[in-house]
C-alpha cells in the first residue's frame, strides 16, 4: 500500500477478445524465453526417457551384449567388435554410457514423477479435507505436517531406507513420506482461502453435499499453487533419489538411476576417467534445471499478486 498515486495501469494483461483462458496462460508463460527453453529441454528429456528402449544404441542391462574388453573407454572410441561407437564412452563394465544414461533417465524420471503424483494426491486430499472439516482434524493434521516439515528430507529418507532396505517401491515410499506434507500444507492454505468465501457458506446452507463442495470448488481452486509446488517437489524428489542411490540406498543395481551411475564412476574419477560420473550428472542437471525453469515461470504466471 503506497501513498503514492501510482497511475492506473492494469496489473494483469488484457485478454484478447475471445481468447481462451488456456491460450492466455500459454502466452504469459511464453513471455519468458528461458522458461520456453526449459520447457523444450524438459520435452527432450521426457521423450528420451520414454523412448529409451527403442532409441538407445545398446541395452546396457543385457549382460550378454556387453564386452568387458570395452570397459572404461573414453568418449568417441569404437567398440572392439567394431559395430558401434561409444559416443560418451563406457563404464567399468563395458556399458555404453549414452545408453546407460538414457535408461537411467527413465528410471529417475519414473521414480520422481510417481512419488510426486502419489504424494500430491495424498497430500492434497488430506489438506483440502483439513480445510473443509476444520476443528480437531485440521489441528492434528497441521501439527503433524509442521513436525514432519521440521525434519530435513534427507534424514527422514535415510532412516526410512535404512529400515526398509532396497527396492523401487521402498524408495517411492520414502519419497512420498518426505513430500506429502508440502502438498498438504499448500492445499490446505489454498482451500482455506476458498472455504472462507461467501459462496461456500451459501452452498453449505443450500445443503450441497460435502463431497460436491470439496470436489467442485475447494479442490479446483487449490490446483494452481499445487502445480507450482509440484514442479519444485518433483525436481527435489529426482535429486533426492539420485542422492540416495549415490549413497547406495534405495534403488537396487538392477534398476540403475542416474545417481547410481554417478556412484559407479566415483572410483574412476581420481584416475582421470571423468566421463563415467560427469555425463550422467549432466543429464541429471539438465532434467532438474528444466523442471525448475518451467516451475519458476509457472509460479510467476499463476501468482495473481505479482504486478508484472
Amino acid at each position: 500500500m503506497s501513498t503514492m498515486e501510482i497511475p492506473l495501469s492494469p496489473a494483469l494483461p488484457q485478454q484478447a477478445k475471445g481468447e481462451s483462458r488456456f491460450l492466455r496462460f500459454a502466452r504469459e508463460f511464453a513471455a519468458s524465453h528461458i522458461a520456453v527453453f526449459g520447457l523444450a529441454m524438459l520435452a527432450v528429456v521426457i521423450v528420451v526417457a520414454l523412448a529409451a528402449p527403442w532409441i538407445a544404441p545398446q541395452n546396457p542391462y543385457d549382460l550378454g551384449k556387453l564386452d568387458l574388453l570395452d570397459a572404461r573407454l573414453p568418449p568417441g572410441e569404437k567398440a572392439g567388435s567394431g559395430n558401434m561407437t561409444y559416443l560418451l564412452g563406457t563404464d567399468g563394465q563395458g556399458r555404453d554410457m549414452l545408453s546407460a544414461i538414457m535408461y537411467g533417465l527413465r528410471v529417475s524420471l519414473m521414480v520422481g514423477v510417481a512419488s510426486g503424483a502419489i504424494a500430491l494426491t495424498l497430500g492434497a486430499a488430506l489438506g483440502v479435507l483439513a480445510a473443509y472439516l476444520g476443528g480437531r482434524f485440521e489441528q492434528v493434521l497441521m501439527r503433524i505436517v509442521d513436525i514432519q516439515l521440521g525434519f530435513p528430507a534427507i534424514l527422514v529418507a535415510l532412516i526410512l531406507l535404512a529400515v526398509l532396505g532396497k527396492g523401487v517401491d521402498k524408495i517411492i515410499i520414502a519419497l512420498v513420506t518426505v513430500q506429502w506434507a508440502y502438498y498438504a500444507r499448500t492445499a490446505r492454505s489454498a482451500a482455506l482461502v476458498e472455504r472462507n468465501k461467501d459462496y461456500i457458506e451459501a452452498a453449505r446452507g443450500l445443503g450441497l453435499s460435502a463431497r460436491r463442495i470439496v470436489l467442485r470448488h475447494l479442490l479446483p481452486n487449490s490446483l494452481p499453487p499445487l502445480i507450482v509446488v509440484a514442479t519444485v517437489q518433483v525436481a527435489h524428489a529426482i535429486a533426492l533419489e539420485a542422492t540416495l542411490s549415490f549413497l547406495g540406498l534405495g534403488l537396487p543395481a538392477t534398476e540403475p538411476s542416474l545417481g547410481l551411475l554417478i556412484a559407479n564412476g566415483y572410483e574412476y574419477m581420481l584416475s582421470g576417467k571423468y566421463w563415467i560420473s560427469v555425463y550422467p550428472g549432466v543429464a541429471l542437471l539438465a532434467t532438474i534445471l528444466a523442471i525448475n525453469l518451467v516451475g519458476d515461470q509457472l509460479r510467476d504466471v499463476l501468482n495473481p499478486r505479482l504486478a508484472r
Partner: protein
C-alpha cells in the same frame, strides 16, 4: 520578494504497459516563505506525484520529464542525488499519508528521530536525543521520554502521525510538504492534527504545502489554494477567493459536493461522470465531458490564465475577472 518554491511547467511521466502516462502535465505553482498552500484534487489528479517530484522521489517507471523546480534560488531538477539528499529532511521535509507504513516497524522511535537529526547535523547522539524529546513535546505527546524507547505499533494512528510531523519539523525545514496527512485518521483526530500543524507551522515560520482531496480541511488552514484535475492546475489563487467564489466549474463542483454545503435531507450534489483515466484523456479540456458549461470551444485546451487576482484554466470561468 522571490518565492521560496517556484515550480514551472513540471511534467512527470510514468511508463506503463499501456503507454506513457502523464501524472503531472505542465504544473506551475509557487509558495512564498511562511505561506500555506493547499493543493486540492481527487485521487489520480497527480497531486501526490507533484509533491514527490519536488523532492525528487519519483522512482522508475516514473521520471520527471521536463520543467523546473526552483527552491530558494536553486534548481532542483537535475541536481545530483547527494545534493538533493542534503536538502531532504533538512530544508524540505515531507509527511506521508499512512503513518503505520511510513515509520519503520522494527526500529524504535528514538532511532528514527535521532537519525533524522544526525543525517544533517554534526551533533552528538545525546544532543540529537534532546532535540527529539523537545519535538515530541511540541507535537503534544505526553511523557516523551518513555515514548522514545517504544515502537511504532505501540502508538495509535494519531500519535504516529504526530511523530511523523515531529520528524518532519525536527531540523526546522523551510518547507513542509504534507501529503494527505489526516486522511487515514479518525475524524476527531483529524481536527487535532490539523490544529497542531497549523500552530507549529506558524510558530516555526515554515512554508507548508498541504495536499488533500478534502476542501473542508484546508478551508481554515491555507493562505492560497491550487486545484488540480487530471494532472493540471485548473485554478489557483487566494484561499478566501477560490473557496468563496470559485471560478472553475470543477472547483464549484467540489465545493457543492461538500456535505456541509448541502441543505439537509436533500440529495448530495455530485459532479456527474467519473475521473478520466490519464491514459485515455480526450483532447482539449480534461473536464469537458463532465462540465455543464462545456461548449465547442472546449475542444481547445484552455491555458492557465491570469483572471483577476487568480489563475484559471477555463474558457468559461464562473466569475468574471
Amino acid at each position: 520578494m522571490a518565492p521560496l518554491l517556484d515550480v514551472t511547467n513540471l511534467v512527470t511521466e510514468f511508463a506503463t504497459r499501456d503507454g506513457l502516462l502523464r501524472a503531472v502535465d505542465g504544473v506551475s505553482l509557487s509558495v512564498a516563505r511562511g505561506e500555506v498552500l493547499g493543493l486540492v484534487g481527487e485521487s489520480g489528479s497527480g497531486k501526490s506525484v507533484t509533491g514527490f517530484s519536488i523532492l525528487g522521489l519519483v522512482d522508475p517507471p516514473g521520471r520527471i520529464a521536463s520543467g523546473s523546480v526552483v527552491f530558494d534560488g536553486q534548481e532542483l531538477i537535475g541536481l545530483p542525488e547527494n545534493r538533493l539528499r542534503q536538502l531532504r529532511g533538512r530544508r524540505i521535509a515531507m509527511v506521508f499519508q499512512d503513518p503505520m507504513m511510513t515509520l519503520n516497524p522494527v526500529l524504535s522511535i528514538e532511532t528514527q528521530m535521532v537519525e533524522a537529526v544526525l543525517a544533517h547535523q554534526n551533533a552528538s547522539k545525546a544532543a540529537a536525543r534532546e532535540r527529539a524529546l523537545e519535538m515530541l513535546g511540541r507535537v503534544g505527546i505526553a511523557s516523551p521520554a518513555s515514548r522514545l524507547a517504544q515502537y511504532p505499533h505501540q502508538f495509535s494512528g494519531g500519535m504516529r502521525q504526530r511523530v511523523a510531523i515531529a520528524i518532519a519539523l525536527i531540523n526546522r525545514p523551510d518547507l513542509v510538504i504534507a501529503d494527505e496527512p489526516t486522511t487515514a485518521l479518525d475524524v476527531t483526530v483529524q481536527g487535532q492534527i490539523l490544529f497542531e500543524m497549523q500552530k507549529l507551522v506558524r510558530e516555526s515560520g515554515s512554508a507548508l504545502i498541504w495536499i488533500t482531496h478534502d476542501l473542508a480541511v484546508i478551508a481554515g488552514l491555507a493562505d492560497r489554494v491550487a486545484v488540480m484535475y487530471a494532472g493540471r492546475i485548473v485554478e489557483q489563487g487566494a484561499a478566501a477567493e477560490v473557496l468563496e467564489l470559485p471560478a472553475h466549474p470543477y472547483t464549484r463542483g467540489l465545493l457543492d459536493s461538500v456535505p456541509a454545503n448541502n441543505a439537509t435531507s436533500r440529495r448530495l450534489k455530485q459532479i456527474p461522470g467519473m475521473t478520466p483515466s490519464l491514459l485515455r484523456l480526450a483532447p482539449g479540456c480534461a473536464f469537458r465531458e463532465r462540465c455543464e458549461r462545456a461548449a465547442e470551444r472546449c475542444i481547445d485546451m484552455p491555458e492557465l490564465k491570469l483572471h483577476g487576482a487568480r489563475h484559471v484554466r477555463c474558457h468559461f470561468p464562473l466569475v468574471s475577472a
